[in-house]
């Protein structure tokens, strides 16, 4: 039995816009400008803001959908989505039970999480060479 089956009216479920989404949108714009001018990346933690479901829907609508979508399976599904604005990414993390554990907007060329780590590339190259050595 989940929370849905208990008839609770939660306060945050209010339909109204709080005005916070517009502030987040301005912050995204400012950070995108500094990414363009100085190459400076940034992240915004949506979980740290008092955003109502309506706020999030408004923000998602304003940011729109870009060309890239990446699904990752990292001890629960994660989803990286490019928005209509190049350099603005929406990240959504879930735990294995399916609950949302984190939601971020990352302003960068490509989110850090997607990039292959140099140390992993080195060990990948080593194991591939081992594999080839074993072939002959």
């Amino acid at each position: 039995m989940g929370l849905e089956s208990i008839p609770v009216v939660t306060q945050s479920a209010s339909d109204g816009l709080t005005g916070n989404a517009a502030a987040v949108l301005r912050e995204i714009a400012a950070r995108l400008e500094s990414l363009a001018k100085e190459g400076q990346s940034g992240i915004i933690d949506l979980g740290a803001m008092p955003l109502s479901p309506a706020d999030k829907a408004w923000l998602a609508d304003k940011l729109g959908q870009g060309e890239v979508e990446i699904n990752l399976e990292l001890d629960g599904p994660s989803h990286v989505r490019e928005t209509r604005y190049a350099g603005v990414w929406w990240l959504l993390h879930h735990n294995p039970q399916g609950a949302v554990t984190g939601e971020f907007i990352e302003i960068t060329r490509i989110p850090e999480l997607v990039l292959a780590h140099p140390a992993d590339i080195i060990s990948g190259s080593e194991s591939l060479n081992f594999l080839i050595d074993d072939l002959c």
Binding site: L3, P7, V8, T10, Q11, P96, A99
Partner: protein, 362 residues
């Protein structure tokens, strides 16, 4: 390769935890701790590249519930795996060594990591009869603590017993149990109370320590503010019912079935600082109030002596009028502790005496 072996990420990789999974975990951990999102990346980098932190864990007067909370759950949690991945140099319950070997391991761990290891204590310290109530290898917990603590970089008092004395300290406290901070005064100590504590709090504290070389911000009881900054009641999803004065009167009435507030059934949520309502238990599955039982107040000092788990926090001043006033008392007493409405709080206070855990103890 050898050098790599000591590293946390390599050790996690052996257990099938990829770097990205670890990065995701650090990002959500930083978010949970209300740190800026860049801290998540810093944590992942610092924890991944640092040598596995040396941890010495001393179990004192305890029930092993705290160890269970961290190491076991029905599926392996990332907290459990990170805990396995730290260099746990001494933990009597988990280590293979026993007897003299175990004692040698302790001496060696202290010698090798002097001034650098994190000392985790679970259980209270018995001080009666010179500490004779709880001994390991012929040494009292008190003696051991005084010997090991001076060499630690920081101390984590894990669980309500180590943090406040806990159940061993409950009246009449036959062993004269005290908390770690009652004995050790000159070391940074972080209290992680709870009976048991929430596993992610420990990983959060360790991650913070490894990344920034310091303990996270603490409240006046030495608890990390990020996890103990708000009461259970502040974040409880049944709060709207409390505010409307809708209370379950028994565990099987219509109110209980409708998910109403458990205040009158003894919920200690309003005076209990802990993260259960947001972090939840068992991988976010549920938590006590969601399962239909009030909060016991397990992360507050002396919760065991609080006067009964099923006794509501506020009672009418005159107990003789209790029966007659019971129906009204529910709504009014509920309002008495509402932090959200200070005006009503004042009015209710005038009509009723508010009883806290500390008052009940007297």
């Amino acid at each position: 390769m050898r050098e790599q072996e000591g590293r946390l990420v390599a050790s996690l990789a052996q257990q099938g935890i990829s770097r990205r999974t670890f990065m995701k975990y650090c990002a959500t951990l930083a978010s949970m701790m209300a740190l800026p999102p860049s801290a998540g990346i810093a944590m992942a980098e610092a924890m991944a590249s640092s040598r596995r932190p040396s941890v010495i864990w001393l179990p004192f007067q305890e029930c092993t519930g705290c160890t269970e909370s961290i190491t076991r759950s029905h599926s392996p949690t990332l907290e459990g795996l990170i805990f396995d991945a730290i260099s746990l140099d001494y933990q009597e319950t988990l280590m293979a060594a026993a007897g003299h070997q175990a004692e040698e391991a302790l001496e060696k761990a202290i010698e090798d990591n002097k001034g650098k290891f994190v000392l985790i204590i679970d259980g209270s310290v018995a001080t009666g009869l010179d500490g004779a109530y709880s001994c390991i290898a012929g040494r009292s917990n008190l003696e051991l603590l005084k010997k090991v603590a001076p060499h630690a970089a920081a101390i984590v008092a894990m669980g309500s017993c180590a943090a406040y004395g806990g159940i061993p300290k409950a009246n009449p406290n036959p062993t004269a149990a005290v908390s770690v901070s009652d004995i050790i005064k000159d070391k940074p100590i972080v209290n992680i109370p709870g009976c048991p504590p929430i596993p992610v709090v420990m990983t959060g504290v360790l991650a913070h320590f490894l990344t920034f070389g310091s303990l996270p911000e603490l409240d006046k009881l030495g608890r990390p503010k990020a996890f103990y900054g708000e009461t259970i009641h502040d974040r409880c999803y049944r709060r709207p019912f409390y505010d409307q004065g809708k209370f379950a009167k028994t565990f099987d009435d219509d109110g209980a079935r409708n998910g109403w507030c458990l205040f009158e059934l003894g919920c200690k949520g309003p005076i209990t600082y802990n993260a259960c309502a947001t972090v939840k238990w068992n991988g976010g599955t549920s938590w006590p109030v969601e399962s239909g039982h009030g909060c016991l107040g397990c992360s507050e000092p002396d919760f065991w002596d609080g006067g009964g788990f099923y006794k509501a926090l506020s009672m009418p001043a005159n107990p003789l009028k209790l029966a007659a006033g019971a129906a009204v008392a529910g709504a009014a007493a509920g309002v008495a502790i509402s932090f959200a409405n200070r005006a009503k709080k004042g009015a209710a206070k005038a009509a009723h005496e508010t009883t806290t855990l500390a008052d009940l103890e007297k």
